[in-house]
Symmetry: C2
Subunit: 210 residues, 2 copies
């Protein structure tokens, strides 16, 4: 009784808190390990060790490697969108806005290389497990529609033609970003910071001129 009632201020954790903390640490370690070794290449032992636990602890918290991986895939929403929204609201339409946005995208990509690795792992896994592909598609719908909301006003402002729907343009922007991020890892010199902004400017200029 003493421990639980007299010292709640210390970092004593309830059983539930301890468990959820263990889960969080395991998920974090799993993300790092899957990014570094790939899904098939990663071992549960390495994940457990990375989190500072044993294999047993891992299996007591998750069904196994696959469940850990799918849980991660469900979690990884691109939080990038919200920061992009800030940039868009800070500036009026124009070249400066595209350049700033481009820098933001390039910087985030450089900072979170693991995200790109994991996204590729998720994609490959889903390509090989059709049941998971549907989940992945659903998971990407939210950030995608957020992106649509971001480009929508710009399109109206430009007087974009009907074929340049927010959905279509958002898809193109996301694809462009994805592709540039990957190519930048292969050859950074070929994909300088400015290229992100330039490409966006070309794209929206073209849509406005149609």
């Amino acid at each position: 009784m003493n421990d639980e009632s007299d010292e709640p201020a210390r970092q004593r954790l309830t059983r539930a808190e301890a468990k959820s903390r263990t889960r969080a640490l395991l998920l974090e370690a799993a993300a790092k390990t899957f990014a570094r070794k790939g899904y098939a290449g990663a071992s549960v032992e390495e994940i457990a060790e990375g989190a500072g636990f044993s294999i047993g602890a891992l299996y007591s918290n998750f069904g196994g490697k696959e469940e850990l991986f799918l849980e991660l895939a469900a979690t990884y929403n691109s939080s990038l969108i919200s920061r992009a929204a800030e940039v868009l609201h800070e500036h009026e339409a124009g070249d400066a806005r595209a350049a700033d946005l481009g820098r933001l995208l390039a910087d985030s990509a450089d900072r979170d290389v693991d995200v790109a690795l994991l996204r590729s792992e998720f994609w490959l896994y889903a390509m090989r497990n059709p049941a998971v592909m549907e989940t992945l598609a659903a998971r990407l719908r939210e950030p995608r529609s957020a992106l649509e909301g971001l480009v929508g006003p710009t399109l109206e402002q430009l007087g974009a033609p009907p074929e340049a729907s927010a959905k279509a343009v958002a898809t193109v922007v996301a694809a462009l970003f994805d592709g540039l991020v990957r190519q930048r890892q292969i050859d950074p010199a070929q994909v300088p910071d400015e290229l992100f902004g330039l490409a966006l400017r070309w794209l929206f200029t073209g849509i406005g001129a149609a």
Copy 2:
């Protein structure tokens, strides 16, 4: 002596021919297996069986799984460029050209899903093996400069500004294509055929209007 000198017209193969045929079959099976299972997930046994040979035959022709994989990575140049060049020469500049080119790209992507899978596998492998990344970058230089040669004339025709160099635009086009192909596999409805052409049109229109 009879066998070798009297029946050359039959499918009798010299030792060297037999070996190179075995190698080709193994490489083909390896491509299929790596695409379906991934690098780490593929087993040499499955590759050998897929080619109709034993594990021993595989090791007699290749150093092992990694060598097989790297040999494949070296081979896979995008032969797409040459077909794209045809389309570009068939049409005058304009919307029809972009639309046709878009259809071509979308169709090839749908036909060769394995290519997209393997390209992702190569990228991930290179991301995790820096020594290989340089090779991958070198390997991509040829098709990339071919693409530059393709977009160059169009850029001149458009009176493109200096920041829209052939290199920069080629990078953007390749990234766009890559991204759209991947997204199309996740949700085909979101990436219709026309989008490839539309995106190209927007891009080049924007470059010309700058």
